[in-house]
Structures are given as C-alpha cells and as structure tokens.
C-alpha cells in the first residue's frame, strides 16, 4: 500500500501534477455551487485563478487564511477556504485556518454542505489498519492454503525460518513511521573477547542485511547487490556498502532488500532439496546453503529486534520450531569454533586426542523453553562425537538467552546460564558461542 514518494511525483498521469494545471473544481462541488444562486459565489469562481488568489495561498502560512477579506476581494477567501475543506475535515489545518474555515461555514451554504459531507466521509475511513496483524497469522494462513492445495514448488523446510523472519521484519518496517527510518540503532556483537557496539540507523541496518544476504544470492548465481560477485566477508562487504551508499533516501533500501529476499526464496524453492549442500562462501569460511539460510534468518531476527528496540516496538522471538533450528545451527557450529579459538590460544588445550567419529569429552547444552532441547557438544575435536557418557560439564539456559549470547548481545560472563562441572569447559563453550557473533 505504501507507495514511495518517487512513485507519487513521477507516477502515471494523475490529476494535478505540477506540469498540468490541477483540476480546480471537482464536479460534485460544481454541482453544489450550481444549486446556489448567490452572485458572490459566481464572482468567487470568476476570480479564482487571479494572481491575488495565489498570493493568498502563498501568504497564508500560519496566518488566518485571509479570513475577513483583508483586501483580497470577496472571492478569494471563499476560494481559499473551500480548498481547505478536505484538510479541515481531516483536522490537518493550522489552528488559525481551522478557525477561519469554521467561521466561513456559518455563512456559506455550499461550503457548509460540503463540509458535512467530507466530515462524514472521514468517518468512513478506517479507524485502524491491520497494523497489529498477528505475526503468527501468516504461517496459519499459508498452512491452510497449502493444506487445501499442496504446493508443486514448496519452500524447503530449511528456508522457512528465513521466509518467516524476513516477512516479520518487513511487516515491522511497514508499521514504523517513515520519520523513524533514520532512528539510531545500537548494534552489538562480541569481538576480540569483548562486547563492541556501533551506531547504525534503521536504513543502514537494512542495507547491511541486504549486503550479507547478497552472499547467498551470489552463491545461487543471482546478482550480488554490491556487484562484487559474492566476494568478501560480511563485515568487509558491509563496510564497503556503508562507505559507498549515498545517504540513502528514506525508503529506497527496503524495496531492494525485500525483493532480494523474495528472489532468494523463489530460487531455492525451484532448486529444491538438492541445493541444500551448495556452498555459500562467507570469506573466511563456507556454509552449506541450508545453514546459510538459517544463519540469515537468525541475523534477520536479531537485527529486527535491534530495530524494534530503537523504535520502541514489541517484537517476539521466532516460533519454537524455527527457534529450534536456529539454536541447532549455533550448537552445530560450536565444536568448530571451539577448535579455531583453541588454535588462536583463546581456549584451553584439548585434554585428550580423539579419533574422528568416536566419543570424546562432552558438554551437555540444555536449552529450555520453546525451541529448546539437548545438545551434546564434543569439547576436544569437532570430529569427535558428543556423548552423554563422556559428559564433563553442563550448561542450562533459556532458548532466547542462548540466542542473545550467540548474537553477542549478552556477554559470556553475564549469560544467565546454570553451570555445572568442568568450569574451563563451560567458559570455553560460552565464549565460543559469543564469538559466533559479528557485525
């Protein structure tokens, strides 16, 4: 529904673009006037395009719209006041203008008649829009549809969280006031063992999401929004985008971001399950497509939440089923991250050598609440298998809290997690989770 200002000014011939003189009088009003016999009205019409009228318009800022004449001639105030009737009915005039219109209505029959009609019409405008459309309704409606007629080209299960999260963010964007597009958004993540922050805006966050989604687009052979053919890592790409993007005019980035997300979904749907293993390069590492789309869903939610905080808007976590997939991705990435941190001297050395595929020392990650579950994290090697028998430590925390940790929004020291057993193992895993985050 929300057209951009560009569409408005360049749109197909609508009455009254600056080039075409606007249709001065709507037919219904002319009819109303025709029914009147007062010669003053005719005079008013005769004078309506005289320069004096334009002066009256130009000079009315804040002042009382020429009420009482003020030398503009008998026709001018009527003409000006009549043109204000729509704005008046919508309470969109200045107080002085409102007063002037209302005084005029007491002695102008045609305007009074129209005023009543327009005010009644305002009553027909919706008192509320679907602003608070239940975000869950989307999946229920789609499920109903797909039950009635199964899709021939379904959206793969691993792409559904991305579908849902991008739709939720888009709904948030359509609800917030355009004036808030440049509201400051605080980005937080974990880097070099501490929490870092950076100021962004709603617009630049959407640009960031679009730029990193572009890695998936490039892997699928679609256009890279940066024109870099999928080169670079998320951070360098974002920096490039932010550096080169002209201070983006308010709404322009939302369209391309949304369009790209729709195109991604469409493309993976046609590619089907076979594409799940396709590699998506993040620069320093590669994720299979199915995990990359979970990662993008995760980041979309995290940043939507950042935006929602910035504009003081309620935003719920993903549904349990989707949250579970996101937590599962983070849990699966933990052993590899742990190993990389160990190589960098950031985690304690392995305590035993484990042959690939056999059970090793294990941390039990117990995630509570919707989307929760149990994950068994092998501590000494990503190739080892987590095993309840070799459990040396236990972390229990809420699903959303775990995601906040993995997003770098909560520091490892502050995460509200129940901890048992080997303290070094607990510490290493919490830090590894936090270090999954980035800009």
């Amino acid at each position: 529904m929300s057209g951009t200002p560009e569409t408005t000014t360049t749109g197909p011939a609508h009455p009254g673009t600056p080039e075409q003189p606007p249709v001065r009088d709507a037919p219904a009003v002319r009819e109303a006037h025709a029914g009147q016999d007062g010669s003053a009205v005719r005079e008013a019409h005769a004078g309506r395009d005289a320069p004096a009228v334009r002066e009256a318009h130009a000079g009315q800022d804040g002042s009382a719209a020429g009420s009482g004449g003020g030398g503009g001639g008998v026709g001018d105030p009527h003409r000006v006041l009549k043109s204000l009737l729509g704005a008046w009915a919508l309470a969109a005039c200045s107080p002085e203008e409102t007063l002037a219109v209302e005084e005029h209505l007491t002695d102008c029959g045609s305007c009074a008649e129209e005023a009543v009609r327009l005010r009644d019409a305002v009553g027909l405008l919706q008192t509320e829009r679907g602003l608070d459309l239940d975000p869950q309704l989307r999946s229920r409606v789609l499920a109903t549809c797909l039950n009635r007629r199964p899709a021939r080209v379904p959206v793969p299960a691993w792409a559904q969280p991305y579908d849902t999260e991008t739709a939720r963010l888009d709904a948030l964007l359509s609800d917030i006031d355009p004036g808030e597009w440049h509201a400051p958004v605080q980005l937080r993540w974990f880097e070099e063992e501490r929490q870092v922050r950076r100021k962004a805006t709603v617009v630049s966050v959407i640009g960031h999401l679009m730029t990193v989604d572009g890695l998936v687009a490039a892997a699928l052979g679609l256009d890279d929004p940066l024109g870099m053919a999928g080169d670079g890592d998320p951070t360098s790409r974002t920096e490039t985008y932010w550096l080169n993007a002209r201070q983006p005019p308010t709404l322009t980035v939302r369209g391309p971001w949304r369009e790209q997300s729709h195109t991604l979904l469409r493309t993976v749907s046609f590619a089907g399950g076979g594409a799940a293993e396709l590699g998506v390069s993040y620069g320093a590492f590669t994720l299979p497509l199915e995990d990359a789309l979970l990662e993008r869903a995760f980041e979309c939610w995290v940043h939507a939440d950042d935006i929602a905080r910035a504009v003081d808007y309620p935003y719920e976590p993903p549904t349990g089923a989707h949250l579970h997939k996101l937590i599962d991705l983070a849990a699966r990435l933990l052993p590899g991250t742990l190993a990389a941190r160990r190589r960098a001297g950031l985690a304690a050395p392995a305590q035993s050598l484990v042959t690939a595929g056999s059970p090793g020392r294990t941390l039990h990650l117990e995630v509570e609440g919707p989307g929760g579950g149990d994950w068994w994290i092998p501590l000494d090697s990503p190739a080892a298998v987590g095993s309840a028998d070799r459990k040396v430590a236990h972390i229990a925390l809420d699903g959303v809290e775990f995601c906040q940790l993995a997003a770098g929004h909560v520091s490892p020291q502050e995460a509200a997690a129940g901890q048992l057993g080997d303290r070094t193992a607990v510490r290493d895993v919490l830090f590894a989770a936090a270090s999954l985050s980035r800009l």
Partner: protein, 190 residues
Amino acid sequence: MAKDAPPRWDRRMQQRLARGEAAALGELYDRFASLVHSLAHRVLDDEDAADQITREVFGHVWENPHAYDPKEGSMRAWIARLTNRRAVHRLRQSESAALADGGGTAEELELKVDRAAAVARADYIVTSMPAPLREALELAYFKRFDYRQTARRLGVTEDEARRRLRLGLQLLSTAHTARGVGGQEYGSAR
C-alpha cells in the same frame, strides 16, 4: 517496490500461483494480508472472524488463481472485492442467526448490513482510488500529518496537497450511496 508494478506484477503473480509456487503465495500474503484483514475487520468488527476471512480469501486465491481476470482491474481490487463480499455475507449470516435467536428486528439487521456494506464500499474506494489521493489521505489520517507536512512528504505544493485531500474525501463520500454522486467523473480521474 515499484519496480515490478502492476499489471505486470499481477499477471506474473497469477502465473506463479497457477504453477503452485509456495513462495509466490508468501509474497501474495506479504502484499495483501493487511488489506484483507483490515477490510474484513471493518465489516465484522471481530478479530477471529477477520482471521477466518483472511484464510478463506487467500485459500480461494491460491486454489483459483485463474478466477482473476487482469482485464477487469488490479489484483488488489479483485482481492478487496472478494474480501468485502465474503465479509458482508458472513455478517448477514451471523446476524440472521442472531435474529433467529430473538436478537433484534429484521429492520435492525438490514440497517447493520447496509452500514457494513457502505463501510466495505468505502474501503474499496480507498483501495482502488488513484494512488496519489490515497497516499495523501493516509498521511493526513493515519500519520496525522497536517497538509503542509503532507505536501512536503509527497513533494507537491501545499495547494496540491489540499486538493488531493479534498478530492479523496469527495470520492469517499460516494460510498454512502450505492451509486455515488459524480462517481463516473471521479473514476475518470485515473
């Protein structure tokens, strides 16, 4: 968003729905759900009933994409008509049931349905009116902009902003009568 503007978007969406693309169904929902839900809610004044109509309308479009004829107008207008028809029908049913249970008189029922139908017509008028008028009304009404702010946001003169607000309301006022005053002239403003 204007890149793939109707009617091309409408035709392409129709083809994709016909092909059974679930991703197209998602896009359709993203574009029209708030329209459908709010139209239904306006007529029925009930959240659950509006949810139900939303399901029915999208279900119908998904099952019958060929029922849409681009020659008869935009997909948006088609979906708005489907919604209004179903919502008013549902209201009539529930009111008739209430009547059978001894609630109210037949006249009250007719009055209520008529009122709901006028509201539905008004929504349809807003939905299908030229975008410049709709946008001006939205800014002034929903965003509570005054006409000067509206003019600035739309990049038009204040004169033009006042004109759009007035013309938009004049169009809307025709919803009070089944065949509105000057409806044809306004229609030609497109």
